[in-house]
Every structure is written in C-alpha cells, then in structure tokens.
Amino acid sequence: MKIAVLIKRVPDMDVRFKIAPSGTAVDESGLKFDISDFDGYAVEAALQLKEKQADPAASEVVVISLGPDVVQETLRKAMSMGADRAVQLKHDAPLHDSYAIATALAAELKGGAYDLVMFGRMSIDTANQSTGTIVAELLGLPIVTAISQLTVNGGQVTARRELEGAYELIACPLPAVVSIDEGIARPRYPSLKGIMAAKKKPLETKPAQVGEERYKLDKMELPPERAAGRIIGEGKDAVPELVRLLKEEAKVL
C-alpha cells in the first residue's frame, strides 16, 4: 500500500500570540512549532495501516509539506515516527487561499500512484478544513472527511464521521482521500532509534506549483479579552447567588 500524508507546520497553541508589526502575521519569535494536531493523527493512522499489512516493508508512507525550508524539520519528525520518505514543496511566502495550496499539493500527488492520501481534518492555525477536499476534486478522487474511525480492507475504506449528536458510517473504494479527526490514534513519540534513522531517510525538495491566490489577508488581530473572572462563593451556599446572577445580570435564566 502506498500512502501519502500531507502535513503542515504550525506554532504550538498554548501561548498568548502577539501580532507582528505588519499586522498580517503572528510574531513568531519565541514560538515553538510542530506538526499540526490532526496531521499528527493522520501520520499515526498511516503508520498503523502500514504496520497492519501482511508485508509492511512492501508499503510506503510518504509525508509531504508545503512551505519554507523550516518545514524540513517537521518532515524529519514525521520520518522519525516512521514515515519512509518526505517531500518539501518549497514556497517561502505565506499562503492563505486553500485553493492555491491545494493546487500545489495536487500537482505533487498526481501520478504518485497513491492508494490512500491522508489529510488532517483541518489545520490548527487556519482552521479551514477545505484543502483536502479541493485536492481530492482536483485529482478526481473520492474523499471522506473528518473521520474518527478508519478501516481499509480489500480495496475499500470504511469510516465513521461524528455529526452534531449523531454519526455516519461511510464506505468508499480505493484509491481515495481521507481527512482525519481525533479518535483514530494519538501520534507516537519518536524513539531514539527512529530519530537516528530519520536522518538518513530521503527528503526531496521541489518548487511548489501554487495556484492563483484569490485571498488577501487584510488584518490579524487578537480577540477582545474576557473580563477577569469572579469567584462568588464557596460550596452549595453560593447557589442562590449564582442563580440570581444568571437571572438578573447574565439574563440566561
């Protein structure tokens, strides 16, 4: 089985972001970067699929990332988890239009003879949840999005997607594109052996063939701060005061 996983490099989210002086980017100084959450789940799911094959060595997991040279670090991490090789689609300027990004990803995937192409449900920074679908459409492949369970058997994908208060079971033939929600698997930590091995695995760099950008990022800003919290009391004796506030101040009761 040949599997491609599309991974994006994003900042860790457990910080208070600052906006760069340009007003159209976050200030990256001091930020740590890693594989976007859902893309990490996708890498793990791909590795598990490979390991489940009768002859895992005959399968290949290829990780692909579009971005400047720093994404090589992200690709190395995925290889240290177990991916076999990596491709960087080099592009230095920030991109905002998922259509433009998808065009470049599809150009790389086309002709790659992948049985399965895996995306994260959404990237954790831009949160568009559209790139994978556009890639699938450009490749003419079926896509099953935001899945929390995945089985691949006899050329067929079966999956589960969570809805609001419900879920769907979905079937689709290979080759296919899927996008991975939480629930399938947590990414493994790279072992020391994996980290050493990753240094020797092939990482190819090519220029990204991005499409036309129809998006302009006008501004980035921080949302308004919440007013500081207020503790109204201790134990069950505070309940009447809470109910009064919900009624009279917050007007939600």
Binding site: I124, Q129, E137, P142, E162, E168, I231, L242
Partner: protein
C-alpha cells in the same frame, strides 16, 4: 445582468430541516437585500408521502426569506450523499446569476462546501463569523489559531462561497417583504445519479451521548475529570434537563476515559462552541479546553481548587465539591424555571 442572487444550502437530516439551514437562509436574505437579488434555498430529501413535516420545512424556508425553494428529491437521499449533492449544487451555481453561496459550517456543511467550491472553482471562506458582500469582493472575519487570532480576509471574486460558523447568524424571519406568503417551489433533479456515487454514507445513527446538539444548544453543561466517574454524569444531565435547552459536553480527560463519547468533547481537537451559557463542572480549564469554549457568552465554573485556571475565564465561579453543588443547583434552576 450582474450576479445578484444568493444561494443558501438548507441542511436537513432524515428529511428534517436543521437549524443550520435556517441560519443559512437568514444570512442569504441579508445579502440578497443588499445585492437586490433573490434567495434560492436548496432542500435535499427523499420524496415524502407529502407528510406535514415535509411541507413545514418548505414553509419555514420561505418564512425565513427564501424566494425560491429548490427541492431536490430522490430515493437516493436517505442518508447524506455528498457527491450527488455537491454535483447538483455546483451545476446550479454555475448556471449563472449567483453572487454568493451560503453554507453553515456544521459537520455536513464543512464536508459539502469545499466540494462545491472545488467544482465551481470559486474561492471559499470557511468558518466565518462576520462577512460583507461587495460588488466584486467578499470581506470576512474568521477565527484561527484555536480562536486566539482573528483573521480578516478579502476574497477577490465575482462569485464566492461563504461557510458561516454555526450561530454566527441567528435564524430570523425578515420584518418586511411578505416572504411569508410568497416564495415558490422549484423541483430540481440530481446532476448525477445518487446511486452511482463512490462515497456512500451507509447509515446515520444517534450518538450514545447528548440528546441535544452541542452546536445548537444555547446552554451547555460540561463535565470534567472532577466528576470522578461516568455514573456521576447523571448529575450533569439532570442540570441540563432542568434548563430544558441544554446540551452536555465534556473534556478530553473524560472522553479518553470513555465516560462520554468523543463527539461530546469540547476543545482544540473537539467541538468549538459558543453558547449563551457554559457551565464547567470539575474542569481544570486547560488551554486546549478553553480553545473550544472561551467565546461562550457567560461562563460559570464549579471547581474545588480555587487556583484552577478555569476561574480566570469564568464570569461566575463557585469553589467547592461539584458532586455536592450540582444537585442543589439543579433544584434551584428547576425552581427558577417554574417562576419564569
């Protein structure tokens, strides 16, 4: 003639119109009033035996501002059929005269809208909280970075897809215009055979968890590890029942333990919610949890640790044992509801 009409996707499940559908139509009406065009709302379902529910959905769409209800009926629409629906919507949109297409970024909308965008080659703005449609551009605001950064974009295109964050536009009947009486129904047929698609939704089932939907409920009662065990979620459910309009949510600690299904998880890797009222019960307030609920209008926290980070975002906090406080709060809410 310039493109002035606005398309709205009227989401349904099992033949029943969903709130997301009314939000899309309400937003489309606002746009159409500025472009001077018509609102065309598409409803997809199996041909019904003309039951009351069937007529109600169409009436509700008209009442919320649809000038034309595009009724796409076929036996193949028992479950969501992404490929057949996307092909049909795209064929309609590219047939002309549409300025924009409005979706709501529910689970279904998030699946469908990018499919349509790709087919039409229109730019798509996802998970939008505010937007304005101009003559040759669309301006949108979109929260990114787990809600910590708001991005403003301009999409330069004569046609665009806007996928609205659930709850960004509240369903509202237009004040004037007499839409109540007007509106026509136009039957349309699928652009491709719904039986010959590759992606097949084989079944749709109710989740084990919440009865009311997290994305739609105005009140969310959420439980964390502080509840100690699955059985104690009964206390959370009781409080939700006392409110009557509340859904039950959970932290990842809880869904990891299997106390609640994953679909109840709120946070960075779970659902993003912004209800009118969010009550956090035995939740520490980890950054990844806050990412999913910090935009709630009013936040209440009950936690026995007065240093818990959840108190930093809570409008009202009570320090104490959640197992002891919940039953008292439930009784008090029931009492208050009686008086209301």
């Amino acid at each position: 003639m310039a493109n002035t009409n606005v398309f709205a996707f009227a989401e349904s499940r099992g033949g029943e119109l969903r709130r997301a559908g009314l939000e899309a139509v309400t937003a489309a009406r606002q746009v159409a009033d500025s472009t001077g065009g018509q609102v065309h709302a598409m409803l997809v379902r199996r041909p019904e035996a003309g039951g009351a529910a069937a007529g109600n959905s169409v009436a509700a769409l008209k009442a919320h501002g649809a000038d034309v209800v595009l009724l796409l009926e076929h036996e193949g629409f028992t479950n969501y059929n992404p490929e057949a629906i996307a092909a049909t919507v795209a064929a309609r949109l590219t047939s002309g005269a549409y300025r924009a297409a409005i979706f709501v970024a529910s689970a279904q909308g998030r699946d469908l809208a990018p499919r349509v965008a790709a087919k039409c080659q229109w730019p798509i703005a996802s998970d939008v909280t505010e937007f304005a449609v101009g003559a040759d551009s669309v301006k949108v605001k979109h929260p990114g970075y787990t809600g910590k950064v708001i991005q403003s974009f301009t999409l330069s295109a004569a046609t665009a897809i806007v996928s609205l964050r659930p709850g960004a536009v509240l369903p509202k009947k237009p004040d004037a215009g007499g839409a109540e009486a007007g509106g026509v129904v136009e039957a349309i047929s699928p652009a491709i055979d719904p039986a010959s698609v590759r992606v097949v939704v084989t079944s749709t089932a109710q989740s084990e968890g919440a009865k009311l939907d997290l994305g739609e409920a105005p009140v969310i009662i959420s439980g964390g590890r502080g509840l100690k065990e699955a059985a104690n979620f009964k206390l959370v459910e009781d409080l939700a029942a006392a409110f009557g309009n509340a859904a039950v949510g959970a932290t990842r600690a809880v869904t990891d333990e299997g106390w609640r299904p994953h679909s109840d998880q709120i946070g960075q890797t779970g659902r993003l919610v912004s209800p009118q009222l969010y009550i956090a019960c035995g939740i520490s307030g980890a950054i990844q949890h806050l990412a999913g609920m910090r935009t709630s209008k009013t936040i209440v926290a009950i936690n026995r640790d007065k240093e818990a980070p959840i108190f930093k975002v809570a409008d009202y906090g009570i320090v104490g044992d959640v197992l002891e406080i919940l039953p008292v709060l439930t009784a008090a809410v029931k009492e208050a509801k009686k008086g209301a």
